[in-house]
Amino acid sequence: MEAYLDNSATTRCYEEVKDIVVRTMMEDYGNPSAMHLKGVQAENYVKEAAKEIAKTLKVQEKDIYFTSGGTESDNWALIGAALANQRKGKHVITTVYEHAAVSAPAAWLEEQGFEVTRLPVDEKGSLSLNELQEAVREDTILVSAMYVNNELGAVLPIEEMGRLIKEKNPETLFHVDAIQAYGKYRIFPKKMKIDLLSASSHKIHGPKGAGFLYVGDKVKIQPLILGGGQQKGMRSGTDNVPGIAGMGAAARIIYERLEENTAHMQELKEYFAGELYKLEEVEINGPDPSAGAPHILNVSFLGVRSEVLLHALEEKGIYVSAGSACSSHKRTGSASMRAIGLSPQRKESAIRFSFSEFTSKEELDYTLEVLRELLPLLRRYARK
């Protein structure tokens, strides 16, 4: 049996997505910028995708810009917004446990003379709204925060954050890295006061190599990729039609049965966590299973190094992520693990299980069965 429990890394494409990707590669393969009919046909796929995505967010389709994926969207949001607004101030706020796609450009901005405040989170991965409010200043041009933490499944109160930020400084832009949240939550940028929102296609059963950045109406952002002037000069480069069309289809499908699917994942997660608690020396990291994102569960199996357990599970056809991928020589752990102050024992043994609508109870039962068998064996041979 195979159990793919690494859906926060990437997901399997929907059948329908596959079909549209193939169609845009084999039949309607024109360049959307071309003047002829073949180009127009291709352009229609891009327009259709923008419309479908805009609908899920209740925004205008002209505000959707296509990128090569989540990392580009995040980079663009941070660097593009900071550069375009630096005359208003040079202060940027983010959190301690952002994905590298946000934390690395934030560090780059710091090198360029921007000031970056990184808000702490508590041991469950929650953020203090008071601290956020205090951190926003007159010269704060941007707050960037993730909706769902990719490793722990912690969920930030985006709507309250948006409100607080704008109350304190209406000029401050609010960027949300929604890469783990888009397709799991109904996100409405207008209502939540979100100015910039990043999402990725392959996390929602779309193809890899595509993503988008929502840029609110009057939001000033500088393009980072210059060239032929595609997408109103904001993001040059020939549109990745198969990727964009596939992402559009995936967005439509995933939002069609969103509540049903997330309820399914939440139920699975709570069931799985409950069964795990029955095993010895198991700790759940981050938010309680009843809270947190429906598709992410981070668990430490004390006394078993995550890499070893990952490979042992792999031998049984079970695919998961290690909380901290590291060799024996380097045990720094990930930013998220450090952020919530996990003990070294918990950090070393953390495994992330992540689900999708395709995940079944049978897969989880099989995983539990394998864990019950493996854990005692692996614990016996610990590094002394």
């Binding site: 490979h311 042992a312 792999e314 031998e315 024996s328 380097k330 692996l378 041979y381 590094r383």
Partner: protein
């Protein structure tokens, strides 16, 4: 412009009656390396020299790079081949050649003539001095220096005339296949690929054994070793890599023996397994990347303790190397980048905080007695169930 490469080999030239064996092996290896280069090549032995003749169009850079990987070659001289059409024509051709290769550069030079075709109307010395004059006239910036010239223009008069002045250094060593074969203990580290390279350089063909310990070592760690074997095979020819599942043996030792002796005992069994494969593959020696004192298992005491179980000679070409010297070779043969990928290997997974550095052989043997019940069967099974992959450079 270069219609031939004259291949220089130093060490082979001093071999006695067996010289032809070495020369034939060298020809074979040159052919093998040129197989994947764009163009056709004829490789021939001619009067104590090996010549490579490209047939028509070919990729010069690629051809030179390929030959630079052939052990036994000390120098690769790209040569211009001329028909003998009289001395006047030769003078013109030599002047053209020097102008083309060195242009306006101010260099010192001399002309060195070898006259294999004794019927040529002029003597070597005479040819050299006349051509020297021709070059001086054609390239006013060049100066003659017969003692320490920067450029030596070689003129070899055979049935045709060969003109060359460049000598691209080869790797040296002995042609592969002239010195039997050996079994390399290949880990994912920096040292063992270098050790394999160095032994292969002496003409020894290499097979290898890798100890895989799933789930403690990953599929990527295994792939890395396959990749390393392929990199080494660019020099050493196809390598038969035996991938041994070592987990059960390791855990058995872990269960039965003192923890600080684990690494030493484990290495002793690795040697035994490697020797079993060596016998299978008709290898006459083992090769490891050990260097004295590098880690606890490579102190002189530890080396003695691991060596003790072997009946075959164990070659340790890096024994006196410092780490940096090993890294330098790894960089040169381009295994370094792959070696430093951070996947755990089976030697470090259970390593004790303070492993023994001066193991006492009597004590180690005593500990090993606790393994008596199952170890022989386990070793046999490890050898029998190993996966064998032929690693060849693409």
């Amino acid at each position: 412009m270069y219609k031939a490469f004259l291949i220089k080999y130093a060490e082979i030239a001093i071999k006695g009656k067996n010289r032809y064996i070495f020369e034939d092996a060298l020809v074979q290896q040159i052919k093998y390396q040129l197989k994947n280069v764009e163009g056709d090549f004829r490789v021939v032995k001619e009067m104590g020299r090996i010549f490579v003749y490209p047939q028509g169009e070919y990729d010069y850079e690629e051809a030179v790079e390929a030959m630079k990987r052939v052990f036994g070659i000390y120098g690769i001289c790209p040569a211009v081949v001329l028909e003998d059409q009289g001395f006047e024509q030769l003078s013109k051709d030599v002047a053209d050649y020097v102008k083309r290769v060195y242009g306006e550069k101010a260099l010192t030079f001399k002309v060195n003539t070898r006259r294999n075709k004794k019927s040529y109307p002029m003597q070597s010395m005479e040819v050299s001095s006349e051509l020297g004059g021709v070059i001086l006239e054609a390239c006013p910036n060049m100066k003659v220096d017969v003692h320490h010239p920067q450029v030596t223009v070689n003129v070899e008069i055979r049935n045709k005339i060969y003109l060359y002045s460049e000598n691209i250094p080869g790797p040296g060593g002995m042609p592969l296949g002239t010195n039997g074969s050996a079994m390399l203990l290949l880990s994912g580290g920096i040292d063992s690929p270098v050790a394999g390279y160095m032994i292969a350089k002496r003409g020894v063909t290499i097979d290898a054994v890798y100890f895989h310990a799933p789930p403690y070592t990953s599929e990527r760690a295994k792939q890395k070793v396959v990749d390393l074997a392929k990199l080494v095979s660019r020099y050493a020819g196809p390598i038969r890599l035996h991938i041994v599942n070592f987990t059960d043996i390791q855990l058995y030792i872990y269960d039965k023996c003192p923890h600080e002796e684990l690494t030493i005992i484990m290495r002793r069994y690795m040697m035994k397994i490697a020797e079993a494969f060596a016998r299978q593959d008709n290898c006459m020696a083992l090769v490891t990347g050990e260097s004295i004192g590098q880690v606890a298992s490579q102190t002189i005491h530890s080396l003695a303790a691991t060596n003790e179980v072997c009946t075959m000679p164990v070659f340790r070409p890096l024994i006196g190397f410092d780490k940096q010297e090993i890294v330098d070779v790894a960089l040169k043969i381009q295994t370094y980048e792959t070696s430093i990928l951070p996947y755990e290997d089976c030697c470090t997974i259970f390593v004790a905080k303070h492993p023994v550095t001066k193991p006492n052989i009597q004590v180690i043997r005593k500990s090993e007695e606790r393994l008596q019940e199952k170890i022989e069967d386990m070793l046999k099974e490890a050898v029998e169930t190993a996966e064998t992959v032929i690693c060849e450079a693409q």
